[in-house]
């Protein structure tokens, strides 16, 4: 084996990739194809499903019927991503450059919520944000808030939940890319007459963009598929496409519609990612503009 590889060194990367490829084929490509097939079924669980290309109409019907939930998912995911970015960048910056010996501790605190189950965290927020929970209850009893004021079951609560749950995925990549930046570059910028703001704008920020990019994807993609936050913190008015897919699949046994929606969600996310990469990922972004 080793002797064989020595003669043909080009095969080594393939060999190293093989487990990952096998995994993807078994658990992504095959199920995806199966879903594609399911999306083109017609019939019910009782009568049995029949495959036909003619059932492609399911796609347009589903898109028509659930466009509200689709748009809401995009909106909530986008807002959550922006909220995470705005909160995470200063935090990552502080941890990377100003935290000194507290750096490890702060990083630990950022990921600490992961030690509890996702579901438990959302349920905890449900209690905290509850109409008479220990956050709003006391404020209402002293009259600081009107009796009918609520956070739970509003879009705010859902966006808050999504932002909260995926926040570490934004902090960590930004932290890594900031931490990697040679601080002497900032010194060099200051040496070349750039004040602190200019140096940040011209050096630190552009060099941190890969982290911003990675963090945004890590928040946006799972946020697009979220249904737990919408289910537990939201209401009927905040149903996301994830809730629709979940109920179509598991409650209504409407496999074709659920599969078609999943497929469109995947395509939509891919398209969004490519557009984002076009905007952020180019080399020419920073040069040439005085």
């Amino acid at each position: 084996m080793i002797a064989f590889l020595r003669r043909r060194p080009g095969l080594l990367p393939l060999l190293l990739l093989a487990p990952a490829i096998a995994w993807l084929v078994a658990f992504y490509v095959y199920p995806a194809l199966q879903m594609l097939q399911a999306s083109l079924w017609s019939g019910t669980l009782e009568t049995g499903f029949v495959f036909s290309w003619a059932n492609a109409a399911t796609y347009s019907t589903a898109l028509d019927r659930y466009s509200d939930q689709f748009l809401r998912s995009i909106l909530y995911a986008a807002v959550s991503t922006v909220v995470c970015l705005l909160l995470a960048f200063p935090l990552a910056y502080t941890i990377a450059y100003r935290a000194g010996r507290f750096r490890t501790l702060l990083l630990f605190i950022v990921i600490a919520p992961f030690f509890t189950s996702f579901l438990l965290r959302v349920l905890a927020w449900k209690t905290v944000l509850g109409d008479d929970g220990f956050l709003l209850g006391p404020l209402k009893s002293i009259g600081a808030l009107p009796e009918d004021f609520r956070i739970l079951a509003t879009p705010i609560a859902v966006i808050f939940g999504i932002s909260y749950n995926f926040f570490p995925f934004m902090v960590l990549p930004i932290y890594v890319s900031l931490e990697k930046i040679d601080r002497r570059l900032v010194e060099a910028a200051k040496d070349l007459y750039a004040g602190p703001v200019r140096a940040f704008q011209r050096i630190t920020l552009p060099l941190a963009l890969p982290g911003v990019f990675a963090g945004s994807l890590l928040v946006f993609i799972p946020a697009m598929g979220d249904f737990v936050n919408a289910e537990l913190l939201g209401s009927v008015q905040t149903r996301l496409i994830g809730n629709v897919i979940q109920s179509r699949f598991l409650v209504n046994n409407d496999y074709p519609t659920a599969a078609a929606l999943s497929f469109m969600l995947m395509a939509g996310i891919l398209a969004a990612v490519f557009m984002y990469a076009r905007v952020l990922g180019t080399d020419e972004l920073e040069s040439g503009i005085g």
């Binding site: 040679d182 010194e187 040496d191 070349l192 200019r198």
Partner: protein, 365 residues
């Protein structure tokens, strides 16, 4: 005397309770190639960083062209730096790297293009404008760093071991290049290095630093021929230091070695103080047969080591009382004289008293 460009008055820098720079006072003249030479940890880089504005002195005063800049931030100083690591901006092209300072000072359009072109021409890198720093060799990156600083025509250019990362051959070549560029642009250079050869070949004046202060500030020849402290004598070139009981004999200092031999040096070479010594460079020593007559200082000894180095041969001679002396002899007679000195041979070491030097009391132990 030309105008003073940079003036340091009693500048001290503490990091916690560590003194990095200990009360330095010096003037650097306009257009001078000035070097801070010393081993790592001697405070030379900290001194440079204070001139650049990256560190604030704990006490003291820094003036630039007569103006107090002690607490002026780096970006407001008319000083540019060539960093040890070059610190080129990896996401910008070579053109944008060099244009960075110009753009920050509000220069626009054709003027930027023209001046970047001139700077790249000066460092012979025309045609590299569109490349990224990662696509350059070490020597090229070094030139870009130089162009990026010089393009701003600063009053003073600071260079922090700029050749440290290059290999020996490239280092020598870039050293000559740096000197040429400095003459061409006429900007004051303050250069930091631990390499005494680099310092000697390029500098107009050198401050030899040790433990936060400089021990001697002089031109290269003076530093070599007339070092005034033990540290300078051993850091700049090789030296033989002759320690013993200090005395005075008319116009000469005398040192009585533990062996009883007495060596002399003229008093006009410097003050020996109460704890100084007489020194002599290896090439100033002449080796004679034990019986041969000589004038001046003379010590007897035995050759213990011989190494042939091409241009010269280096001998180690052990005298009475275990005193070891280094001797360099030009390989001129070697081809005609069959009996070169070999280990074990008895020799006499002689030198003229005025070819020695005198080191005084050390400022630091």
């Amino acid at each position: 005397m030309a105008d003073v460009d940079v003036r340091l008055v009693n500048v001290t820098k503490m990091f916690g309770d560590q003194t990095a720079v200990d009360g330095i006072t010096l003037d650097v003249s306009d257009g001078e190639f000035f070097t801070l030479l010393g081993p790592s940890g001697c405070g030379k880089t900290t001194t440079l960083r204070m001139i650049g504005g990256f560190e604030q002195p704990t006490s003291g005063l820094i003036e630039l062209k007569g103006e107090d800049v002690t607490f002026l931030p780096a970006h407001e100083r008319d000083v540019n730096t060539v960093f040890q690591s070059y610190a080129l901006f990896p996401h910008l092209t070579i053109f944008e790297n060099v244009a960075f300072g110009l753009r920050r000072s509000g220069i626009k359009g054709d003027e930027v293009t023209r001046r970047v072109g001139e700077a790249l021409d000066l460092v012979q890198l025309i045609g590299y404008e569109k490349r990224k720093p990662a696509q350059l060799s070490g020597g090229q990156a070094q030139r870009v760093a130089l162009a990026r600083a010089l393009v701003n025509r600063p009053a003073v250019l600071l260079l922090d071991e700029p050749l440290g990362a290059l290999d020996l051959k490239l280092r020598k070549q870039m050293g000559i290049e740096l000197k040429r560029i400095q003459r061409e642009v006429g900007i004051t250079f303050i250069y930091v290095t631990h390499d005494q050869e680099e310092a000697m070949t390029m500098s107009d004046r050198i401050a030899v630093m040790n433990k936060g202060h400089y021990e001697q500030l002089a031109g290269p020849e003076t530093l070599y021929e007339r070092p005034t402290t033990r540290f300078v004598a051993s850091f700049v070139g090789a030296s033989n230091l002759l320690e013993g009981k200090i005395g005075s004999d008319g116009e000469s200092w005398t040192v009585t070695l533990p062996s009883g031999d007495v060596v002399r040096a003229p008093k006009n070479l410097g003050d020996i103080g109460t704890g100084g010594a007489i020194g002599v460079r290896p090439e100033k020593l002449t080796l004679l047969e034990p019986g041969q007559e000589s004038k001046g200082n003379r010590l007897d000894g035995t050759v213990v080591d011989t190494s042939y180095l091409g241009v010269l041969t280096q001998y180690t001679v052990e005298g009475a009382g275990g005193l070891r002396l280094l001797v360099s002899e030009q390989n001129v007679d070697r081809t005609t004289r069959s009996d070169t000195w070999r280990p074990g041979e008895r020799v006499a070491l002689t030198w003229k008293p005025e070819h020695g030097f005198v080191v005084g009391d050390s400022k630091s132990a």
